[in-house]
């Protein structure tokens, strides 16, 4: 009998009986009801079914279901300790996150501050290695003294010597007797250069001085120095500007300015690398302690909660 009535129409019949159709839906349904005997029969069936259900008597409670105090689980004995544990766990977790975030920020700050040093060191190494003479004697390269004669220094990354070398790129010592090399290979030449610049024997002297130069001028300088010397491009041992304490590279700054920078260099470098270590260890220990506290209190809270619930 109801095979022609779709599930949607059964739903509409049900909603229609309960007045749950919108005005538009109701109008459409009633129009369809007029032309469909099956729909009318279905409506009557559901209406009768609903009436039967409504005819069921309301069962009264056989007894009172009021709760007695002794019947209520004693879940209120545990909550104070549970609340404390829960709060402690939350606080420890928060502190742990804060400590971790702080640790992370400090690490990043240290990385950022240390990052330029290796680059400059590499550049310094390249410069020195390119200029190193094959004799094994530490060469002394001086540049930066403004040449009154002009052309040797223009655009070549360094000043020419007083020797007036027309191709004196890379710089030459004052009054160098090797005008075409641009490099003073003889140890004796180092003496006036060292004297002219109050070079310090401390490590990093060369590096620090060179930080005052622009990197471009240093890089441009390196290959040009080797060419006039007629030597291969320094296949020899690399001269480490930080480790070599006896081979300073003298910069272009005035002597008084160099002195100040050299004096600063030994003090500033180690402080960056070594001072944070104990602090970071403390932070790490604190993080571990906080994690343990957070876990332990959370576990205690869970156990208390389960005991209260059971």
């Amino acid at each position: 009998m109801n095979t022609q009535i779709s599930p949607r129409e059964w739903e509409a019949i049900s909603a229609y009986l309960d007045g749950q159709l919108s005005a538009q839906e109701k109008q459409r349904f009633e129009e369809r009801l007029k032309v469909s005997a099956e729909l009318r029969a279905g409506l009557e069936d559901i209406q009768r079914t609903r009436a039967l259900l409504r005819s069921l008597p309301q069962k009264r409670a056989p007894r009172n279901f009021t709760l007695q105090p002794e019947a209520i689980p004693r879940h209120r004995t545990a909550p104070p300790l549970f609340s404390i544990m829960r709060l402690a766990s939350a606080v420890a977790t928060f502190l742990l996150v804060a400590a971790f975030a702080g640790d992370l920020l400090i690490s990043r700050a240290q990385l950022a501050s240390q990052a330029p040093s290796p680059n400059l060191q590499t550049q310094a190494t390249q410069v020195v290695s390119g200029a190193r003479a094959s004799e094994g004697n530490p060469p002394v390269i001086t540049w930066g003294t403004p040449s009154p004669y002009g052309e040797a220094a223009t655009g070549k990354g360094g000043g020419g010597g007083y020797g007036g070398a027309p191709e004196g790129v890379g710089g030459a010592g004052n009054g160098s007797p090797y005008p075409n090399t641009g490099i003073s290979p003889a140890p004796t030449e180092a003496t006036p250069a060292l004297a002219a610049a109050p070079a310090s024997p401390e490590p990093n002297a060369a590096q620090k001085v060179q930080t005052t130069e622009t990197p471009q001028s240093l890089q441009a300088l390196a290959p040009q120095q080797s060419t006039p010397a007629g030597e291969p491009a320094a296949p020899g041992p690399v001269y480490n500007a930080q480790q070599g304490s006896s081979g300073p590279i003298l910069g272009i700054r005035p002597p008084e300015e160099r002195g100040t920078e050299l004096a600063q260099s030994p003090a500033s470098e180690p402080s960056l690398q070594e001072s944070p270590l104990p602090e970071r260890e403390t932070v790490r220990i604190a993080e571990v302690v906080l994690a343990v506290i957070a876990l332990a209190t959370a576990l205690a809270a869970i156990i208390l909660h389960r005991r209260a619930a059971s």
């Binding site: 599930p7 049900s14 559901i46 609903r50 069921l56 056989p62 709760l67």
Partner: protein, 202 residues
């Protein structure tokens, strides 16, 4: 003291206030449980458990219709009882298929409830309807009981069941349709009122 004040007091731990709510709603709760479970003792147990659960979880009540919230608790207690029955191997539970087939099955006849013949012989329209209700899938049964037996409106049922209105409408329509099929099997055996109505429509 109005209902909201009683609920608020009960949420603060006032057991007397909660018990006043229990007295106000216990008939409704028991009626729902009985129609869901078709067993007085099980219905009483489910009702008691529901009130106990309601008291324990009263802080979770965030306003709205307390009646609907309580009905939800009762419904859940009934579902728990039905699942407990399902785990018991000796207790048959009807499959969720079409009602007219299940009535004739041996498991159905082995139940404590009367057969359709017994129901008709004793003239118990109520028992016949209750049997048909029991045949319904749980989720249809709850909606049909709430709307047609207890007279709740759709929105209250939606709150109590935790489903949208569209779902309530659909479940109600399908539940009524299944009940119609089921009751037609009783047609000749039901009291004269129903037979006359039935014949009048033919």
């Amino acid at each position: 003291m109005d209902e909201a004040a009683l609920v608020s007091a009960a949420q603060q731990g006032d057991l007397d206030a909660f018990n006043r709510l229990v007295l106000a709603y216990q008939d409704m709760a028991y009626n729902l449980a009985y129609r869901m479970l078709s067993d007085e003792n099980a219905a009483a147990d489910a009702t008691q458990n529901a009130f106990l659960s309601a008291y324990k979880n009263l802080r979770a009540f965030r306003g709205g219709s307390f009646k609907a919230w309580l009905l939800r608790t009762v419904t859940n207690a009934c579902y728990d009882e039905l699942r407990r029955r399902q785990r018991r191997p000796t207790t048959p539970l009807e499959p969720l298929g079409d009602g007219d087939e299940e009535i004739e099955t041996p498991t159905w006849l082995a139940d404590d409830g009367p057969s359709p013949e017994e129901a008709a012989e004793r003239g118990e329209l109520e028992r016949a309807i209750q049997q048909c209700l029991t045949n319904l899938p749980e989720e249809f049964r709850a909606v049909v009981i709430m709307v047609d037996v207890q007279g709740l409106d759709y929105s209250e049922v939606s709150d109590a069941i935790g489903k949208p209105l569209g779902t309530i409408k659909s479940r109600l329509a399908r539940g009524r349709l299944r009940l119609r099929h089921c009751l037609q099997q009783y047609g000749e055996l039901l009291p004269s009122v129903f037979r006359l109505e039935d014949e009048a429509t033919k």
